[in-house]
């Protein structure tokens, strides 16, 4: 009990002086790694689209999407210094919650609107438009 308590309090001493400061900014090496990875992950999709490297647009789109997701993860780790321990795991929890909401909002909107379009558009012929109130 006492050992636990002392461990706790030393952790808090760090908290007051340097915790937020030291945790937030990683090292020079970390930033450089993140930067180089980002440059590569940015250059590839631009090259794929501008150079017409992959003949099928669907394949290129998938590659661009995948590279964007990878680059977002790189930024999260090397620039935003995300990990499961900062702020007692609450930042990670908030992030996961946000990702779930974002996924529902974006995929849900696209899904619903796609079906609305496919179900409504063919029926909307010229004749129907005129007879509509």
């Amino acid at each position: 009990m006492t050992s636990h308590a002392t461990e706790h309090s030393t952790g808090h001493d760090g908290h007051d002086h340097g915790h937020t400061e030291t945790e937030g900014h990683g090292s020079f090496k970390e930033y450089l790694t993140g930067f180089i990875l980002s440059v590569i992950l940015t250059a590839i999709p631009f090259w794929l689209v501008m150079g017409d490297v992959i003949s099928s647009p669907t394949g290129t789109a998938l590659a661009v999407m995948l590279l964007a997701v990878v680059q977002i993860v790189v930024h999260m780790i090397y620039f935003l210094h995300m990990n499961s321990k900062s702020e007692g795991g609450w930042t990670m929890l908030a992030l996961i919650f946000t990702i779930v909401i974002v996924a529902i909002a974006i995929s849900g909107s696209l899904w619903v609107m796609y079906h609305l379009n496919t179900n409504m558009m063919p029926a909307m012929t010229e004749g129907m438009m005129k007879t509509m109130p």
Binding site: A5, H15, G24, L32, V49, M65, A105
Partner: protein, 207 residues
Amino acid sequence: MATQTAVHETQTPVFLAKEEPHAPSSTMLGFWIYLMSDCLIFAVLFATHGVLGRNYAAGPGPKELFDLPLVAINTSMLLFSSITYGFAMLAMAKDKKQATLVWLGITGLFGAAFVGLELFEFSHMIMEGAGPQRSAFLSSFFTLVGTHGTHVTVGIIWLITLMVQVGKYGLGAANKRRLMCLSLFWHFLDVIWIGVFSFVYLMGVLG
């Protein structure tokens, strides 16, 4: 009797230590939650653009409007500003006030270059008659990219404010905390830009 008091003595400090810790540094978590809510704003704008992005209303589409080399330069400006902000944070960790200010200044210049290029692109498009009122695609495009640009502009104003603060009062605990918050904000905007150049520009040109 003696052992009893000893137990009491060891127990009281434990209770005190347990109560204290959580109060001081909730700022970073709070700011992170703000960023997550900002993320939801962008998610909604991305979804809108995803739905309306193909509705050109017989107007110009992404292939005619988007200048990919310009977007690539814009992207590199934001990426450079991200790493220079990182260097500012490293200088801040070593309590080097002058170096921090120099790196923050460079970050601000890259940010300003980004906003300048974006405004140039916008004005060019509006001159060609492809303003936000032209089609649903352009409305959602200007809303999404414009919201991001507004964020960067606010970030630059915040950055200048902090440079004045640091110049005047030095790198105290309060200024360090503020710089940490802006760091999160700045890198977060770069993350959003990854989505913008991938899903709006590159996938738009793909058709």
